[in-house]
């Protein structure tokens, strides 16, 4: 069955009038529906494509057509398509039926749309602000509207955020953050516990909100690459690749095979240094400092290798529209090979040290379980989803350059800290194998881009399986060639709520361990 039949079937069974179905690119389909049918269409697609809400965002089109445009994106592994439900919302009645009660994965997106555009999701169970904290941001100011101006009145401040209250005898609350004890990004965690076990955890984020999406607007596409690298510093390459991919797709730029392979090498290197960092982090969070120090040196190895290849330890500035900014000559290829060889030996040692410690294994085994059902309901993506038994990996599902190599997407079933640890180890090893294969594809100086591509009006989605999971960039370019709207979804945005469920029933001292095993980004989530 082709996807058109599926859409037609959905239209008939659910009684939805499909205004328009357009296949904009080979992997992107936009389905326009009436505002009243939006909810039904989203629920039907969720059900038949077996996909959570992967992205949901609005677009301010009031100047031209007096409407807001609402998009809700789903991923179809079976048809290898991204399906967007699109509807128009009249500017004078800026509201739509909330999906949150049926699709939990839409909740955060709807809160975001509400605070950024002032479009009300009707009957939503949670309408609290997300990133624009009530303590510092006045009500009624919507930054992503086109007519928004900075410089605001300080009236109308709402004051405190309403945390969920747990009541009963012997219940106490432990507030933590936003400034934490270590060198980490800010976030507020509020534990309610009875004795040791956590009975509720509420996570309040947004502390690193910098208004990134607004900053993209009006930028030239080349300038914006730098900004995309600063969305989440530890996934800088995943973000810049995803952004470049969206632009390349929109402007019809074909990326040469060897450039794609060079990008894939860097993406895998980024995965490796972060995974080994997390493995060390898990060790330090149970107080096992030797392997943590060992892992931090291994991370340093990769960072130094990154610098030798691209000039940046965090791979900033490596990407450009149409390819990469560096040469992978024979010398660099040899360097990568020899570094990986030594890394592999160290990696074996690291594994031995961890797995031969009974007390370490006791701490990680069975801790912080995220059940498959919970993960599915929350729309958990990426590594955390695979550790809970959900087989989803953009590298496998939407191959791209990965179909040129032998690639096995790893998976675990138990969903505990140990599963995520094991998965990181397996993925790290797979990355080493992948890099070896990609090294055979990359060429020499042909990587350099000679022609600067011209921006073209239109929109497209870029998607990359970064080390945390899928990084999505939906970019719209206006007639003058500047960015009109850029919607970013970091995998952390999907996964943070699931952390609050994974820790339930665990003791508070195990929270850092669970948190590190998820290792979600604050900056990527807060934008």
């Amino acid at each position: 069955m082709v996807y058109q039949d599926l859409l037609k079937g959905i239209g008939e069974i659910c009684g939805i009038q499909l205004l328009d179905v357009s296949e904009r690119y080979h992997d992107e389909v936009y389905v326009s529906v009436q505002k009243e049918d939006f909810k039904k269409a989203c629920i039907a697609l969720h059900k038949y494509l077996r996909s959570p809400v992967m992205t949901q965002f609005a677009l301010d089109n009031r100047q031209e057509q007096k409407v807001f445009v609402l998009y809700c994106g789903f991923m179809s592994i079976r048809y290898k398509k991204w399906v967007f439900v699109v509807t128009e919302i009249p500017a004078d009645t800026a509201q739509f039926d909330s999906l949150s009660k049926e699709l939990y994965s839409a909740t955060l997106f709807e809160r975001e749309i509400k605070e950024m555009f002032g479009i009300e999701p009707c009957n939503s169970p949670d309408t609290r602000s997300l990133r624009l904290h009530d303590e510092v941001w006045p009500r009624g100011q919507y930054p992503l509207r086109k007519d928004f101006k900075t410089g605001l009145s300080q009236a109308n401040l709402l004051g405190e955020y309403a945390f969920a209250k747990v009541e009963g005898e012997g219940i106490f609350e432990v507030p933590v953050g936003p400034v934490h004890a270590g060198i980490i990004a800010p976030g507020h965690f509020r534990f309610s516990s009875a004795g040791e076990p956590i009975i509720n955890l509420e996570i309040r984020l947004g502390f690193t909100h910098r208004g990134v999406e607004k900053l993209f607007e009006g930028k030239n596409i080349f300038e914006a690459i730098k900004l995309s690298e600063c969305v989440a510093g530890d996934a800088a390459f995943g973000h810049s690749w995803s952004f470049c991919q969206a632009i390349e797709k929109n402007c019809g730029v074909t990326v040469p095979k060897n450039s794609s392979a060079a990008r894939a090498i860097l993406l895998e290197l980024e995965r490796m240094y972060n995974h080994v960092n997390d493995i060390g982090g898990i060790a330090i969070d149970v107080g096992f400092s030797f392997p943590a120090a060992y892992a931090s040196l291994m991370k340093e190895t990769i960072l130094q290798l990154n610098e030798k290849i691209t000039g940046s330890r965090y791979l900033k500035g490596a990407n450009t529209i149409g390819g990469v900014n560096f040469d992978l000559n024979e010398e660099k290829k040899r360097l990568i090979k020899s570094s990986l060889g030594a890394f592999a030996k160290d990696f074996e040692e690291l594994k031995n040290i961890l797995f031969s410690s009974v007390s370490f294994m006791d701490r990680v085994d069975g801790t912080g379980i995220l059940r498959k059902k919970t993960a599915e309901d929350f729309g958990v993506v990426g590594l955390c989803a695979r550790a809970s038994g959900i087989a989803a990996d953009l590298r496998k599902d939407f191959t791209g350059i990965y179909d040129k190599v032998k690639f096995h997407s790893e998976k675990q079933e138990t969903g505990d800290v140990l599963a995520r640890l094991n998965l990181r180890i397996l993925e790290c090893e797979e990355s080493m194998r992948l890099i070896e294969q990609f090294l055979r594809i990359v060429g020499g100086s042909e990587n350099k881009i000679l022609i600067r591509p011209q921006p073209k009006a239109g929109f497209a989605l870029g998607y990359i399986e970064s080390w945390r999971g899928p990084v999505l960039y939906w970019v719209k370019i206006d007639a003058q060639g500047f960015i009109e709207r850029c919607k970013i979804v970091d995998p952390s945005f999907h996964n943070w709520p699931a952390l609050a469920y994974a820790v339930l029933g665990n003791i508070i001292p195990d929270f850092p361990l669970c948190n590190k095993s998820f290792d979600l980004s604050y900056a990527g989530n807060d934008l």
């Binding site: 930054p143 990004a185 947004g206 502390f207 910098r210 960072l303």
Partner: protein, 178 residues
């Protein structure tokens, strides 16, 4: 345990002449690090009575600067051996190290953290965004750098600055100030 001891013996001391299998041998940085580090240690001994304690606060950085600050504490750079320590509480700190362009949401927390530190104290900013906002300068939600809020004594530029740059900047600064 035996495994750890074995590995510990095989690896030896990595932070002196750099010797890890996987680290590239011709590491000039390591030589430089040693000379910079011992000088830093002397200065810290003289001026702070043995050690300089730093409290780090992220006010909305992308995370790369924080990652590099953590890198300065790894066994290769091992900044602690020169007397520089990162502490958990502002009450224990001599200096406040700030990354990020100061998101509005972090403004209060930043001021509180600074207020909780005992005198004498000074502020170090790390990374381009912390200076004047960097790429986030024009945002509706940033305060435009730490300078606008707290007196900044030292700025370490870079996106992100490398661990060695952080250590050298600290040294240069400490040798200038009384």
């Amino acid at each position: 345990m035996i495994q750890i001891l074995k590995n510990r013996l095989i690896k030896g001391i990595v932070s002196q002449p750099v010797e890890l299998k996987s680290l590239v041998k011709d590491n000039l940085a390591a030589v430089e690090l040693e000379s910079v580090g011992s000088e830093l240690q002397k200065l810290i001994r003289k001026k702070f009575g043995r050690s300089l304690h730093i409290r780090e606060v992220d006010t909305g950085s992308c995370g790369a600067c924080d990652s590099e600050i953590i890198s300065t504490t790894n066994p290769l750079y091992d900044v602690q051996r020169f007397g520089v320590n990162f502490v958990a509480s502002p009450r224990h700190a001599d200096a406040l190290m700030v990354t990020g362009p100061v998101s509005k949401n972090m403004l209060g927390a930043l001021k509180k953290t600074y207020g909780a530190m005992p005198e004498p104290k000074f502020v170090i900013t790390v990374g381009d965004c912390a200076l004047a906002g960097g790429v986030f300068k024009d945002s509706y939600y940033t305060a435009g750098g730490v300078n606008a809020i707290l007196p900044v004594a030292l700025h370490i530029p870079g996106c992100p600055p490398k661990p060695l740059e952080i250590i050298t900047s600290l040294l240069t600064f400490l040798s200038c100030c009384k």
